[in-house]
């Protein structure tokens, strides 16, 4: 009997009851990867030897009654900007094609210490920004709901692999929406934690003042299990918050009764007009949370375009600072999309960058004032159902505002949940946003929504 696709919570129950062998589970994950990857390109590298070694160790603990917790023996993939000791970490780029790190990224190590089994490295937009690209050493990942469609990015392979049930979870990074976008278009749960909650040490940077790391999984409950193992202070990361790791699990099932929720309706209905299914999904989310006992009302923030202008200018300049040396010497080794985006970034002046950081402070102030009366906010996660992968504009983020970057600017936790299905049976998603370090409340609301609805029962046909 096959264990995949399955949730972490379900797989753990089977492992804890000794009804599922971690070695058999790892083998099944690798077999699924070999079968599905030619169509999905979710993985750029499988690591069967590492996986089976880790799975055997988990199985030994299982037999000794010494499991380390709910993640022990669970297969996982890592986005290929997360460094993995002895395993190439390339950023999906020719520029770092032969880079083999000596150490694991802090969060990779944290999941390994929790007993997770690394099945392979996952596709990403080049250095978490350039994609979907067809001129890199590996092709772009495809959406399991329809392989002609885009996964969104930049955590493309994570979205594809989890939606296809190859692994129940994977790492993502989120600088402008790179966890929440793939979670939305692939029908998953994904949380961008509060900036500073999870270490970025050993993760190839995109934009230092915006970068976060977090999990993508099938359910909110799984995200909570994963984030609990990732969260915590890392002295090696200057952005890491020096505070105790929060308890994300004890209150997960407490529901939303009495929570005050603001819907940023103008973001997705006026500033950016989303498709009917996406809009209906946000309304559905709000109605379910209201029925569960939350107080829901509309709120107003500065225009979405202001958040995007500020966010993208900061992101572009900080990314340019990372890549500047290689642009001089290896410009043609980058894919077309990333090298052209980085070239555009050279137009932004030092004064522009500081003005953007000043505008950021104003926007953070407006958000903080709004959050005085709200525990959570809601808006859409993406503009539409997944578009055809060959019709995504090179400069899409400049041509139309996105719905996710506002919460990278403020550092708030923001999660995507699947709110239903639209054109072509493709999934749609909405965001739940909380107070800084209020990640537990965001997860509580997402879990309440999933518990009250049946969307988690539907998987892509390809995943059967």
């Amino acid at each position: 009997m096959s264990a995949l696709p399955g949730t972490i919570a379900d797989l753990h129950r089977l492992i804890a009851a000794r009804k599922l062998s971690p070695v058999d589970l790892a083998r099944e994950s690798l077999t699924r990867a070999e079968r599905l990857n030619p169509a999905l390109h979710a993985f750029i590298r499988l690591t069967p030897e590492v996986a089976l070694d880790q799975a055997r160790a988990a199985e030994a603990r299982q037999m000794q009654g010494a499991l380390r917790g709910p993640l022990d023996g669970i297969p996982v993939g890592h986005k290929d900007i997360f460094e993995t000791a002895g395993i190439p970490t390339t950023g999906h780029s020719r520029v770092m094609e032969h880079h083999v790190p000596a150490k694991d990224a802090t969060v990779v190590r944290a999941w390994a210490e929790a007993g997770m089994v690394t099945v392979g490295k996952l596709a990403t937009h080049e250095f978490a920004w350039g994609g979907p690209s067809f001129d890199l050493p590996w092709p772009p990942a495809r959406n399991p709901w329809d392989t002609t469609r885009f996964t969104a990015g930049s955590s493309t392979g994570t979205g594809a692999a989890v939606a296809a049930g190859i692994v129940p979870a994977g790492t993502g990074s989120d600088t402008g929406g790179s966890i929440r976008g793939p979670a939305g278009l692939c029908g998953l749960a994904g949380i961008k934690p509060t900036y500073g909650l999870c270490s970025r040490t050993g993760v190839l940077p995109l934009a230092h003042s915006l970068d976060t790391t977090g999990p993508i999984a099938w359910t909110v409950e799984d995200c909570a299990l994963l984030l609990q193992a990732m969260a915590g202070h890392d002295p090696a990361d200057p952005s890491s918050a020096n505070r105790p790791a929060p308890d994300l699990l004890t209150g997960l099932g407490d529901g939303v009764k009495g929570l005050r929720i603001g819907v940023i309706r103008h973001f997705h209905e006026a500033d950016l007009v989303v498709t009917p299914a996406v809009r209906a999904g946000v309304d559905h989310l709000a109605e379910v949370l209201r029925a569960e006992g939350a107080e829901v009302r509309d709120i107003t923030l500065p225009p979405l375009m202001d958040w995007n202008a500020t966010g993208w200018l900061i992101l572009m300049v900080e990314a340019l600072a990372v890549h500047e040396p290689w642009l001089r010497t290896r410009f043609r080794d980058y894919g077309e999309i990333l090298r052209e985006r980085l070239a555009l970034a050279t137009l932004v002046s030092g004064a522009d960058y500081v003005q953007a950081q000043r505008r950021r402070r104003e926007l953070c102030g407006a958000m903080a004032a709004t959050m005085l009366d709200c525990d959570l906010l809601l808006t859409a996660a993406q503009a539409s159902e997944a578009p055809p992968i060959d019709q995504v504009s090179k400069f899409a983020s400049l041509e139309a505002p996105g719905l996710t970057i506002p919460f990278n600017l403020t550092g708030q936790p923001a999660m995507t949940v699947c709110t239903g299905f639209g054109e072509g049976g493709l999934p749609v998603g909405a965001q739940i946003i909380g107070h800084p370090f209020g990640d537990a409340v965001v997860l509580r609301a997402g879990h309440a929504f999933e518990r009250a609805t049946a969307w988690r029962q539907r998987r892509p046909a390809l995943a059967a």
Binding site: N308, T346, R359, R361, F395
Partner: protein, 63 residues
């Protein structure tokens, strides 16, 4: 929508970064530069002269 960056400004930025573009790339990016111009204009609101950027930090915390 804003105008694209003047060609001389664009060429100077590429030269300073050491980036050599093909003519086709240059033409594309000059056209797209109107979005950068629009963004840099949008962030310049009326504000107190002393407003601090968001990146200001407290010495001793994470330093």
């Amino acid at each position: 929508m804003a105008d694209p960056y003047p060609e001389a400004v664009f060429d100077a930025a590429m030269a300073r970064a050491g980036i050599v573009l093909t003519e086709a790339e240059r033409a594309t990016l000059i056209g797209v530069s109107r979005h950068i111009a629009a963004s840099t204009a949008r962030i310049r609101t009326e504000r107190p002269v002393g407003l601090e950027p968001a990146t200001i930090f407290v010495p001793g915390q994470n330093t």
